[in-house]
């Protein structure tokens, strides 16, 4: 069991890389897998997310989100305050919130869970992420790094 698991969820579709970029920014800050920390990029994991949840004491999950905010706006959700989620944006499978809800029903959620959503703009397959998303990922990585520094 890891002390903390940081997962960046995304796809190679423009701003949908927000979670991956956050992981890249954390790596740039010197945060690596090891010493009780697991840091990983996931490509639309669907239900494969669930087994990962039960093996950590603290999960930090970063994903792109489409809400009503400006592109690059970061929102933090805690253990129960998940955004309303009506219809998935990903293809053919469970979205992140669906997987978390299913894991919750199965008693597989970690004791501590933080979900970060980064508001995205364009998600055209194959396109590059926008400057706003890159900047948001860097900001969020700093926030997470500060959290880790305070906790360990």
């Amino acid at each position: 069991m890891s002390r903390v698991c940081i997962l960046g969820v995304g796809s190679p579709s423009g701003d949908d890389q927000a979670g991956w970029l956050t992981v890249d920014a954390l790596l740039d800050l010197g945060i690596r897998t090891g010493g009780g920390i697991v840091i990983e990029k996931l490509d639309r994991p669907g239900s494969a997310l669930i087994p990962l949840l039960g093996s950590t004491a603290w999960l930090i999950l970063v994903d792109a989100m489409q809400g009503e905010g400006e592109t690059g706006q970061i929102q933090r959700f805690d253990q129960t305050d998940w955004p309303h989620y009506g219809q998935g944006l990903s293809s053919h499978g469970l979205g992140v919130i669906d997987a978390l809800m299913l894991a919750g029903e199965l008693g597989s959620l970690p004791p501590r869970l933080e979900l970060y959503g980064i508001e995205v703009g364009g998600t055209t397959p194959g396109s590059s992420p926008s400057r706003a998303i890159r900047a948001a990922a860097t900001r969020l990585a700093s926030t997470i790094a500060d959290q880790l520094a305070r906790s360990f």
């Binding site: 669930i50 998935g88 053919h92 469970l94 299913l102 029903e105 199965l106």
Partner: protein, 433 residues
């Protein structure tokens, strides 16, 4: 006393998102179905054009992108077709491992469909999340089996989604013996879970249903057909993939961008129940005994037995993978050399959702001149419409609108079409006249 017959119009405008967009239109005039149309817009059609001009070596990776759930089916079918044209004789190792790779896809795809998409319908649940409240152990077991299927795909494909392991002539690499040994242990451990899954699926109360339909599936001389075989139909047809066009036709319908397939001008069923109906004699004796114990008799005319058929095929795929990996040795080379030649290549395998047929015209340099891909969902489209019509009549057209909509969704999801993920999020508009 006279009872006035209802007139109802149900439109389900969005059935799907990325893997295929679909909709359902149902109009009942004075107690009679006046219109019933399943509209599906299948992305795989675009790929046929994308493939033109590409070198044969690129084809397995390109066609893997057609579907995130059944990429192996597309890869193996394309490879089978091109290897046949190029006169490639696969090494026995590669031939066996192709089947193992395919088993992984059946296991993950079937488990996904049973537990996350179809089963909630039969327990009065709107989603797998609700199902997990009343059957947590069964859902956990389903997720474990699905994960094992993904792991098996990852073993040979380097990743489970859009794997990259297959090349024309074999595989790019052979997994190390240590990884195979670890996989064998997991497969063996999963067998009792899969047996329990079959028993559980057999106990699910299904809607009564009795329909006459033609089953179409591959049939192999000795094995339960997965990655190889001739095309068979329940009326006795047995043909090679090259003769597909002599018996099957695709046609456009104005209400759908997907093609409708017919067999001798009739709709037909492909998929797990069609496979079991046609290949029940190819099941291992242990599985036959288990089915006899559960009381599941074949052939079945209840299309809702598709869920149980998927459970049976999960058990079969686990057993097959274990059998084929039992005496695994590292090959001298995981692939054999290929020399391309011009001509027409056809291939056919059993994707999780049913028969998948490919045809490629290749030039002298081994580049695609034209491609044609007939996926299972478009083959089942006519059958789904026919089934909806029959099962709605059986269900009762005087049922409330919401009940009608849910029943339609249940029927559609039962086929596990590529739009199945979205059919859990059906949005509908009801108009009364």
């Amino acid at each position: 006393m006279t009872e006035s017959l209802r007139s109802v119009s149900i439109h389900v405008p969005v059935l799907a998102r990325v893997e295929g967009e679909g909709a359902l239109d149902l109009r009942i005039d004075n107690g009679v179905i006046a219109e019933l149309r399943l509209r599906i817009f299948e992305p795989p059609r675009f790929f046929e054009k994308f493939l033109e001009g590409h070198h044969y070596s690129e084809i397995p990776d390109m066609v893997a992108r057609i579907c995130g759930i059944c990429p192996v089916a597309y890869q193996v079918t394309a490879a089978q077709a091109l290897e046949k044209l190029f006169g490639v004789e696969l090494d026995p190792w590669a031939r066996a491992m192709r089947r193992v790779f395919y088993c992984g896809e059946w296991i993950q795809s079937h488990s996904l469909h049973i537990h996350l998409l179809a089963a909630p319908d039969f327990f009065g649940c709107s989603s797998a999340i609700e199902l997990a409240r009343i059957a947590p152990e069964e859902v956990r077991r389903g997720l474990r089996i699905q994960a094992l299927g993904n792991e098996l795909m990852d073993l040979f494909g380097a990743r489970s989604v859009h794997p990259v392991g297959i090349r024309i002539g074999g595989f790019h690499a052979a997994p190390a013996l240590s990884r195979i040994q670890a996989m064998r242990d997991k497969l063996r451990a999963a067998l009792p879970e899969a047996e329990a899954l079959v028993r559980w699926a057999a106990r699910i109360q299904l809607p009564p249903d009795d329909q006459a339909f033609i089953s179409v599936a591959l049939r192999h001389p000795t094995d339960y057909a997965i990655e190889a075989g001739a095309i068979a139909a329940s009326d006795g047809l047995l043909i090679e993939a090259e003769s597909y066009d002599d018996h099957f036709a695709e046609r456009h319908e104005t209400h759908s961008t997907a093609l409708f397939s017919t067999y001798h001008q009739q709709p037909y069923l492909v998929g797990p129940l069609a496979r079991l109906n046609l290949n029940r004699d190819r099941l291992p004796e242990g599985i036959k005994a288990l089915l006899a114990e559960t009381g599941f008799t074949l052939p079945s005319r209840n299309i809702f037995h598709s869920l149980l058929a998927r459970a049976v095929e999960i058990l079969l795929a686990l057993q097959e993978a274990l059998r084929l990996l039992d005496h695994y040795t590292m090959p001298e080379s995981p692939w054999v050399p290929v020399i391309p030649r011009a001509g027409v290549a056809t291939g056919c395998t059993e994707a999780p959702r049913g028969l998948l047929w490919h045809r490629y015209e290749m030039d002298d340099d081994g580049r695609v001149v034209s491609a044609r891909i007939v996926p299972p969902t478009s083959q089942n489209q006519g059958r789904i419409e026919e089934d909806l019509r029959l099962s709605l009549l059986n269900f009762g057209l005087d049922q409330p609108d919401e009940a009608l909509r849910l029943h339609c969704e249940k029927v559609i999801r039962n086929y596990d079409p590529c739009i199945s993920c979205a059919t859990h999020f059906l949005r509908m508009r009801v108009e009364r006249t």
